[in-house]
């Protein structure tokens, strides 16, 4: 009962912060608490969005961006973000048997990725063991974990003790428990990839160098997940791999 009162009081306090949060007018600790709260409260999340829409009205100045700015953006994305898809997707077509295709196509994709990325963590099986985080978001994770329609998979890398756990509920909300992954040096980031229906490989999110409990969204079905280490988000590294890490669902 005390917990319920405490939770209710906490929710009231967090609700009161929503306006300030929407205007980036909270400190870092409060922002983290509200971030977690929004994960489990669609109502609060919707309220923040409306506040931001109102702020958008205030911000509308009618100014034009400087003439040469687009050129600089175009140059930057030209350097940083070449399409990674075709490089990974073209290996999907050489096996016709649907069941076997799923397995054999993932391996070449991984080999292709491993040839470019430093480490690849790949989803290889179902799992049900992980320490639950002690935050409000944990409730959403545990609900998803308890739902028999959810997909739960462990992502491991051969030759490494580190692993991450992915839980995807039936609505496509994904949670990645990635606390075990080693912290990366400055300039590197973990990136989550998914092989979706039809064999396309898509980026599902950038997790930063020190991920903990991360969220992502999947539309439609997913056949495999992989976490790579990237020098720049969205781009497979050109560095030589320390080793290839291969697996399937």
């Amino acid at each position: 009962m005390d917990d319920m009162v405490g939770a209710s009081g906490d929710a009231y306090e967090l609700d009161e912060l929503l306006g300030a949060y929407a205007l980036d007018a909270v400190d870092d600790d409060e922002r983290r608490r509200v971030d977690d709260y929004l994960q489990v409260s669609p109502r609060a999340s919707a309220e923040v969005q409306v506040h931001r829409e109102v702020a958008t009205m205030l911000a509308f100045t009618g100014m034009d961006a400087p003439d040469d700015l687009w050129g600089r953006i175009s140059d930057e994305i030209g350097e940083l973000a070449p399409p990674p898809g075709p490089e990974l997707a073209k290996v999907m077509s050489f096996d016709d048997h649907p069941k076997r295709r799923r397995i054999s196509t993932i391996a070449p994709w991984l080999m292709s990725a491993a040839a470019a990325a430093v480490i690849v963590f790949v989803a290889i099986g179902l799992a049900d063991s992980a320490d639950a985080p002690n935050e409000p978001l944990a409730n959403a994770v545990e609900l998803a974990r308890a739902d028999r329609d959810s997909i739960i998979a462990t992502l491991v890398a051969e030759g490494s003790d580190a692993s991450a756990e992915a839980i995807i509920d039936q609505d496509g909300h994904g949670y990645m428990l990635a606390r075990d992954l080693p912290t990366l040096p400055e300039g590197q980031t973990y990136q989550l990839w998914g092989v979706v229906e039809g064999g396309d490989v898509i980026s599902l999110g950038i997790f930063g160098p020190n991920p903990e409990l991360e969220t992502f969204t999947i539309e439609g079905s997913v056949e495999a997940l992989a976490i790579t280490i990237e020098q720049h988000p969205g781009v497979i590294s050109n560095g030589n791999p320390d080793g290839a890490f291969v697996g399937t669902f």
Partner: protein, 192 residues
């Protein structure tokens, strides 16, 4: 510019950006770069750094288009929220912040805090101004200092010599009241 993009919805543009269609990003830039630049410049009062923020915002949209969820709001709101957040980060990490605050404080003492002097020329501006005028003074001041001043609500409370809880509540109630006024004026603001 490919014609299909000039007629595409923001959501469709973002889908195309996810497929690395640079023309789609160019169209998103054409539609929203002015607003993002205007907000960043207003917050930072620095042309070069405002450009830096806008560049970062659009490069991020290119690299992480899946962060935008059309069901949760407009693309402009998404881009402006990111612009505002990054600008505020820059302000708060700026070693010259104290100077800036002192300058602002002087300006405030001289002529008051003008909410949106650049906004009034726009068609929307009339509605926004009228809506702002319906706010209680405390609500209006709190929102202005937080949003355009880049202050936390605690800093706003200190600036206004008001309790933190009061300022926090005023920001929230003020935003709700603003939305109500804008909706009543026929402006679409988020989902009901």
């Amino acid at each position: 510019m490919r014609r299909e993009y000039t007629e595409a919805s923001d959501a469709a543009l973002v889908v195309s950006i996810g497929r690395y269609e640079q023309a789609a990003l160019a169209e998103a830039y054409r539609r929203h770069a002015g607003a993002t630049f205007g907000l960043a410049k207003r917050l930072l009062n620095d042309h070069a750094r405002a450009e830096e923020i806008v560049q970062e915002v659009f490069v991020r949209l290119w690299n992480e288009p899946n962060r935008y969820d059309p069901e949760r709001g407009t693309l402009r709101s998404f881009l402006l929220a990111h612009t505002h957040g990054r600008s505020v980060d820059m302000i708060r990490s700026d070693v010259s912040r104290r100077t800036r605050e002192e300058k602002e404080a002087r300006e405030q003492a001289d002529g008051g805090y003008d909410v949106a002097r650049e906004v009034w020329d726009m068609a929307l501006a009339g509605h926004v101004r009228e809506a702002m005028e319906t706010l209680h003074e405390g609500e209006r001041e709190a929102i202005e200092l937080a949003y355009f001043g880049g202050l936390t609500y605690k800093e706003v409370a200190e600036r206004l010599d008001e309790p933190e809880g009061t300022v926090k509540s005023r920001i929230r109630s003020g935003l709700k009241r603003l939305r109500g006024e804008l909706v009543q004026a026929g402006v679409t603001v988020g989902a009901d």
